[in-house]
């Protein structure tokens, strides 16, 4: 199909370079440099989507990032489907495939459009009013239906195959916006040698010079000057120029988030390029040159395809060489629309009429339009647009009422004035101020080191804007030590006029009119909706916004906010500044999750920690479990074994012969210094001063409130050196806790703390044969019971490698923990494994470790305790140094609630049926016949099948549990009540003789 609306001799695109694309299955041809929107318009396609709520046909409103209507789905392949892409921003590439959204079965015939005719039902706040009854129907019926009918695009259902890049950058001057002002500011700063970053959301720099045919700089055409200047900037070492880069968020201390679209405009994605690049920039000064956005006119059926912003039509003509129609009407309250009409007229497009709401507009542009023979109607309003899938006419009427006249048109250009883009300024926490003369919000009080220049600062005229921007760039450069250079301030000139401005609904959409005059196109909010919200009691603009959802769509009300505010103010009978502006929030335009998440997904989402023996365990068939970031061997099934069988075998083997267990994930901290023992006395409940070097002790750490914080075996290597172990999960916070006290509460103590968790691999060898397995490999350590009793530590070598050899047990059997430098962990493990094989030892994992310790009633902090358990509750009073006058938690332990009767105490539970294994977390009651809700007196903390005991075992915390030994309690479960008997938590070898067995 030939691009019938492409006008030869107009626009800047090389019209010979064709790019083919498809829209809703139809093939079209555009040219390189087109956006999807300009290419569609070149083919005469205005209808591109259906609206959110009423499913009304919609066209292309704008030529930029503010677009509320032309949202399409771009599909590259099965995984690359991007919804809600603005056709006005998407650059065309050969082979682009786009689909319209929110329509069924087709764009031209959409069943959902019935909601347009039933519009009365869908007024503001209709969700809150209409679907109130019956209550249950909301979840089951209304919500799913509404969600299916409303909504925008369809999210992709496959993982994102693209990759995203991330960069941090620092600069002296960050210029946001690359129009005439931004370029001038960047030039002024860059020439002095300071570091400059200049970015713009468009593919090419120039901003409104894209359409402003009447602007020139230094005697050259404005657009040409912009391209030459940016080329010059890009060639400078101290300047980074970022096109296709949107500043989406302005955060504290001049920290600005930019997202650069790297390959969405290329015919083939990938090829080593990221899809997008996230820039996190810290700037000494930010120069905001974000320009302004044209507003539409609010009149009946102003959303018909073909009705668009005047500047957009001018952009399509002057940049893309595309006419938006053949017979165009203009509706304005502003001079800029005249320039659009004049440019179109000169290109051979018929201008059916200009309708100006102002009574006596006078400017050179008005005169020129008249001179060209264009009909100018002033003091009149367009009261409605005709047509459905495409605008076909505009009906005009004098403002005060009177005779209507319908003029056939195929496009309407509209302009009610320009809204300065203060979004980023506002995000910087600057306060905007209402300028009464021009009826707009402008930057007022600054909160950060930034400055606004050009149209976003209310400086419309390009000459003044360039001057202002250049001065701001020079000032920043001076302050940041730029070298003195001869100023080459560009001289801009323009015939453009931005005079004229109106806010709110035009006369044809007045208070007593029942018409659809859209304020917010994307969320289908009309002038009537906003009036209704005020009438229904919404007084704050924030409430009006939420009730009507105006400005809450993905475009964040870039074209609609000021109209909505003006209508609310008028209905409230207040001035605009009294009503106030809603808050601007990041992101300025939608940002992909990919750019934000960036590399942090899959394996890089969270680090995976593996122990030194991980590869060995993998090779020996270990099943792993995640413990925090660690991968720990859970159990080692032999052929044909399930988890239950494997764990039973491991448990029996350890007690019969021995087992090897990788305990490297335990936290390890070395406490060193002349005051090391004093420090340990303060941080742990136990006494340490009298512990001999070479001996170990089980230590309990409390928080200041008296509750158990962590535990572990501590070995005293020397009078001034302790090797402290912590729980796996507690390693980092215990280190932090110790550092905190050492640095801030006990800084007088001469102690150093060093995390050695990663430095030592720990191989636990447990069981009656443990000594026989280790002894042949050890040098320099006498491992006899006399020389090395239970709870002692020795230093020597194993397999020729230095070792800290602990004799300790987390199983209740004779046991050792072999600490070796982590690099030798696997080699020593393999040597121990070879020795172990001679004695029938096994490797065991965390599940067996848990069962064996539970058989002995050893607690796991965080499983059997939950942050509200005291040493007494856990039956560990013996670990508190009775003569001590101070340790962290000593005062907390005497708090009234901690010494009161009725606290939950750790006990064992035996099910009456030994085969029944309780569920961990199950609640315990005294009397199962009591009415619901029952009084729960405790819960199960640990529960396992114990092959060694030949029955199930469980630990629990029960109110006054230690006074209930032998009593029967009940555990109500969905399948029935389980009877349990309270017992000691030690189920195996109660006398403890096996520690030396």
């Amino acid at each position: 199909m030939a691009a019938t609306y492409r006008i030869s001799g107009h626009g800047r695109l090389p019209q010979t370079k064709t790019a083919r694309f498809s829209f809703d299955g139809r093939s079209f041809a555009g040219v390189e440099g087109d956006t999807l929107a300009s290419a569609l318009l070149a083919n005469g396609v205005h209808l591109v989507g259906r609206s959110f709520k009423y499913h009304r046909p919609r066209g292309i409103l704008s030529a930029g990032a503010e677009e509320p209507n032309a949202l399409v789905q771009i599909e590259r392949d099965a995984a690359r489907k991007t919804p809600n892409v603005r056709a006005t921003v998407q650059e065309l590439y050969d082979g682009l495939t786009a689909h319209s959204q929110n329509r069924w079965p087709s764009l031209a015939f959409d069943v959902g459009a019935a909601s347009d005719r039933a519009g009365g039902m869908f007024s503001a706040g209709f969700y809150y009013k209409t679907f109130m009854w019956p209550k249950a129907a909301w979840k089951a019926l209304y919500e799913p239906r509404i969600r299916a009918a409303a909504g925008l695009g369809v999210a992709p259902d496959q993982p994102d195959p693209d990759h995203y890049a991330s960069r941090f950058a620092h600069c002296d001057v960050l210029v946001l916006g690359g129009g005439a002002a931004g370029i001038a500011a960047a030039l002024a700063a860059a020439e002095t040698g300071v570091r400059v970053i200049l970015c713009d959301e468009q593919a090419e720099f120039g901003g409104s010079l894209r359409f402003e045919a009447g602007a020139s700089v230094d005697g050259a055409n404005g657009w040409a000057w912009a391209q030459a200047s940016v080329a010059k900037l890009a060639a400078m070492d101290n300047v980074r120029v970022l096109p296709r880069t949107t500043a989406f968020g302005y955060y504290a201390q001049n920290f600005v988030g930019l997202v650069e679209r790297v390959s969405d405009h290329l015919a083939r994605p990938g090829d080593g390029l990221p899809r997008e690049r996230l820039w996190q920039v810290r700037a000494r000064r930010v120069i905001l040159a974000t320009g302004s956005i044209e507003r539409h006119m609010v009149f009946a059926d102003n959303d018909r395809p073909g009705v668009m912003l005047a500047s957009a039509a001018r952009t399509y003509l002057n940049h893309y060489g595309v006419a938006v129609g053949r017979n165009v009407g203009v509706y304005t309250a502003n001079d800029t629309a005249y320039a659009a009409a004049i440019d179109l007229k000169k290109a051979g497009i018929n201008i059916a009429a200009i309708v100006d709401l102002r009574d006596n507009p006078s400017s050179p542009a008005v005169d020129e339009a008249r001179a060209l023979g264009i009909e100018v109607n002033h003091g009149r309003a367009v009261i409605r647009a005709g047509g459905k899938l495409r605008v076909s006419s505009m009906t005009i009427q004098p403002k005060a009422g009177g005779g209507e006249r319908t003029i056939p048109v195929d496009a309407i250009l509209m302009s009610s004035g320009w809204t300065p883009s203060v979004h980023l300024f506002s995000q910087s926490r600057g306060k905007v101020a209402f300028d009464d003369a021009t009826k707009r919000f402008l930057p007022g009080t600054y909160a950060q080191d930034c400055v606004s220049v050009g149209a976003c600062n209310g400086t419309d005229d390009v000459t003044a804007a360039v001057d202002e921007a250049y001065a701001a760039g020079e000032k920043a450069a001076r302050e940041f030590g730029g070298k003195a250079v001869k100023s080459v301030r560009p001289k801009a000139a323009s015939t453009e006029s931005f005079a004229g401005n109106m806010l709110g609904a035009a006369p044809g959409a007045g208070a007593d009119m029942i018409v659809k005059a859209f304020v917010d196109f994307q969320n289908d909010v009309t002038a009537k909706d906003i009036r209704l919200a005020v009438k229904e009691g919404m007084r704050s603009i924030e409430h009006v916004k939420r009730f009507t959802t105006t400005g809450m769509a993905t475009d964040q009300g870039k074209t609609s906010n000021m109209h909505g505010l003006a209508i609310a103010a008028e209905t409230l009978g207040k001035e605009i500044p009294e009503v106030g502006l809603t808050t601007f929030r990041a992101p300025y335009t939608p940002v992909t999750f990919g750019a934000i998440v960036n590399h942090g997904r899959g394996a890089l989402f969270d680090p995976t920690r593996k122990t030194a023996t991980h590869a060995w365990a993998e090779a020996h068939g270990a099943v792993f479990e995640d413990v925090g970031q660690w991968k720990r061997a859970w159990y080692f099934p032999k052929a044909g074994e399930d988890m239950h069988a494997a764990v039973n075998r491991e448990c029996v083997t350890v007690r019969k012969s021995a087992g090897l267990f990788d305990a490297s994930t335990l936290g390890k901290i070395e406490v060193v210094g002349p005051d090391a023992a004093k420090f340990m006395e303060l941080l742990y409940t136990n006494p340490w001063e009298k512990l001999d070097a070479g001996r170990c002790r089980y230590g309990i750490m409390l928080r200041e409130d008296g509750f158990i914080y962590d535990d572990g075996v501590v070995g005293r290597l020397a009078p001034d050196r302790f090797h402290v172990t912590t729980t796996t999960g507690g390693a980092a916070r215990v280190m932090n806790h110790m550092e905190d006290y050492l640095q801030t509460e006990f800084p007088h103590l001469n102690v150093w703390l060093t995390s050695i968790s990663e430095q030592w691999a720990v191989i636990a060898v447990q069981g009656p044969n443990s000594r026989k397995i280790i002894e042949p490999l050890v040098e320099g350590i006498d491992m006899s019971d006399e020389a090395m009793p239970h709870m002692s530590v020795r230093e020597g070598t194993i397999c020729g490698v230095p070792t800290r050899l602990f004799r300790m047990s987390f199983t209740g059997d004779r046991g050792f923990e072999v600490n070796v430098p982590a690099d030798y962990g696997q080699a020593v493990w393999e040597a121990l494994w070879a020795e172990g094989q001679k004695h029938g030892a096994c490797a065991y994992g965390t599940e067996t470790m848990h069962v064996l310790r539970a058989e002995k009633g050893y607690i796991i902090v965080g499983q059997d305790t939950d942050g509200t358990v005291t040493p007494n509750d856990a039956g560990l009073d013996w670990a508190i140094g009775k003569k001590k006058t101070d340790f962290v938690g000593i005062r907390g332990l005497t708090r009234p609630d901690l010494v009161a009767a009725g606290r939950k105490q750790l006990v064992g539970l035996k099910t009456k049926d030994p085969k029944t294994v309780l569920e961990e977390g199950a609640q315990i009651v005294a009397d199962p016949k009591q009415p619901v809700p029952m009084k729960m007196i405790g819960h199960v903390t640990s529960s396992y099948w114990s092959e060694n005991c030949g029955r199930s075992i469980a630990m629990a915390v029960v109110a006054d549990g230690r006074a209930m030994m032998g009593k029967t309690l009940h555990v109500p479960m969905p399948s029935g009540v389980i009877e349990v008997e309270v017992c000691s938590p030690v189920f195996f070898d109660e006398k403890g003789g096996r520690l030396n067995g």
Partner: protein, 128 residues
């Protein structure tokens, strides 16, 4: 992302390197075991949670690992100053009071909201 100046490194570094560690200048009593329940409650549980300037502890976790103190405005998030642990609480009377809420772009009188009444008037007996 905030920049926080570490008084030990003498450099402003990104917030990511730091961890907050609660209110500052809450000293652990030297004879804590003898504290009354009321005094222990004040020491352990009660915090000032001010709207405005708070003195709080930070740790340069991924840097020098030192704990230090900071005066920060809880409304604007702005750090007034940072100083080493153990140094006395600085006198900030010279520093201006907090501005409008951080999330508000305009002062309350421009926000179309009423300022909260300073204090409820005491009603005389017999009046509603």
């Amino acid at each position: 992302m905030l920049l926080i100046r570490c008084p030990y490194c003498e450099e402003a570094r990104p917030e990511l390197e730091f961890r907050n560690a609660g209110e500052a200048h809450v000293a652990r009593p030297s004879n804590i075991a003898a504290e009354s329940d009321e005094d222990f409650e004040k020491f352990f549980f009660i915090r000032s949670n001010p709207k405005g300037i708070i003195f709080e502890r930070w740790r340069h976790m991924h840097g020098c690992a030192r704990f230090f103190n900071a005066a920060r405005d809880t409304v604007s998030d702005k750090f007034i100053l940072t100083y080493k642990a153990g140094e006395p609480k600085p006198d900030l009377t010279a520093i201006a009071e907090s501005g409008p809420a951080a999330w508000a772009n305009r002062p309350p009188d421009q926000l179309n909201v009423k300022k909260p009444a300073a204090k409820r008037k005491t009603t005389k007996k017999g009046e509603a």
